[in-house]
Symmetry: C2
């Protein structure tokens, strides 16, 4: 029986890098007792530097009652790091063999009802949990860097993961102040990384072909689609940009462009079922807001983002 | 002989939609006299509504001296719309036959030294200018919606375009307060749309395969990579996320992931020349700023963006 997310007071963060350090800082800022495991105490200065940098922004956002950097235990003893823990966030190096060996140990050390979440950017949990003696509570909880600021956590299990562990993790992350996104399927790269990776590979193609420089890529994003994407994502950006017709107009107007070589990635067939899924999804997100209201909200926020990016 | 961008006082905006209306509002806000051509005066209410919406944000950003919505002439007479104009921004419907017929007329009506820029999202200027009697001054000047707020303008010519027209357009847009991005080659979709389109097609694949809903796509972007992309683009986002090692570490660490199915788009071969171009490009953008300073700046701005998106 897992405790309610509200009753969690002690968590473990594994890893000394920007992700492990970032998670430790985040949990400290939310008032948790944090036990940090480093592979070697030589990594302590780097780890503390990540926390000190993160703390400036976390303090600006607002700390939870009782939050303090003093609530941190740093150790290179894995047993000590997980003693009494109620949740483990693992951010070890992105190598399958390292993670598998770690989950073999954690699976024996950590009580079987405690959820262990991996920050992996794309390794499947089915592979990571292969040698874990208690895999049913192991999940992916994938953040975006910097994990103390960007709210997204993508959540998905492996073949041996129990649904109750995923349910609990969604509730726990949300309670801690994150935006959990539970995946429908275990797909390589999850959702956010796949979207970013498609864009990134197109960027690499353009640089490789002398069509754009890295600076061109970054300026194109910063001054073009990215501020809008930060506010609306991409589906609602198109939905609102098309005015009253919304996504239906977008797909009618730009549907033919899906066949054009506007990127090196071929589009899927725009079947009626895909069209309906896109249109229905956007209408649901819009709810009863009018297009004029959604456009006005977008504009108001773009003005703020432009100011934030140029101050 | 073209006048200096500073001497431009009268411009023409063609098109009644969100792009044509958005450009008209932008130029009005910068103090220009604007002559707007609508296909039919029936479109006037929609056109004026776009301008009224835009004006709220433009006033918030700050109007130029002398800027007024009264400096607007609306007409369905093309000759009247271009009489005395010093620059034409064309935002007609995205259909090649319509644009070609329009450029045939404009090419005869508008003095040959006046630059005519198309807002096309992806039609090549080489095709658009095919029937224009004076194609040397016709260019693409591609904005992102809403064009009165997002600063990017992608600039590229067609086969018959003169380099001097492109030089002038870069200077004019910059003077008017835009961020011109001059393309090295005429490629379908330009740079920003290609990046967005790769991401969009990957999103459509995921929805088509039941891997994600439109809401999942938008939440993944808004709470994950998009705020960072709005601040740093994608190259610098990876450069700074990797700490002291920068883009070189990114490519070493995630280079193998370019072979993984993290998106349906295959990556180019990571040759030494591509690697060097990415690393050198990021080092140039970083200049003498330290990684700690760049990370602190990123964090400070992410906090503002998160506040802007949740207020």
């Amino acid at each position: 029986m897992r405790p309610s997310p509200r009753e969690i007071h002690t968590v473990t963060s594994i890893g000394a890098g920007p992700i492990g350090g970032g998670w430790a800082a985040f949990f400290l800022s939310r008032g948790y007792q944090v036990r940090a495991y480093l592979h070697s105490m030589d990594e302590e200065p780097i780890f503390r530097a990540v926390i000190d940098t993160a703390w400036q922004s976390l303090a600006e956002i607002g700390l939870a009652v009782g939050a303090s950097r003093d609530n941190l235990l740093i150790t290179d003893d894995l047993e000590q790091a997980v003693a009494g823990t109620q949740f483990v966030q693992e951010s070890a190096p992105e190598r399958l063999a390292i993670k598998q060996a770690l989950y073999a140990r954690l699976g024996a050390l950590v009580p079987a009802d405690v959820v262990i979440a991996s920050s992996t950017s794309g390794l499947p949990m089915t592979d990571i949990q292969a040698d874990c003696p208690t895999p049913q509570r192991t999940i992916v909880g994938h953040p975006f860097n910097p994990p103390y600021l960007l709210p997204l956590v993508e959540i998905v299990g492996g073949a041996a993961t129990d649904e109750t562990a995923l349910d609990w993790a969604v509730a726990f992350y949300a309670h801690a102040g994150k935006e959990p996104l539970r995946l429908k399927k275990e797909i390589p790269g999850f959702i956010a990384t796949r979207l970013q990776e498609a864009l990134w590979r197109e960027a690499l193609h353009m640089v490789a072909n002398g069509e754009a420089s890295p600076e061109d890529i970054d300026r194109a994003l910063r001054f073009g689609p990215a501020p809008r994407m930060a506010i609306q994502g991409q589906c609602m950006a198109f939905h609102v940009a098309c005015g009253e017709g919304g996504m239906a107009t977008n797909l009618d107007q730009f549907g033919p462009a899906l066949k054009l070589p506007w990127t090196r990635l071929d589009a899927p067939e725009l079947t009626k079922s895909l069209r309906d899924a896109m249109v229905d999804g956007c209408n649901e997100m819009a709810g009863d807001r009018s297009f004029a209201d959604m456009a006005a909200e977008r504009d108001r926020r773009i003005v703020k983002i432009i100011k934030a990016c140029t101050d």
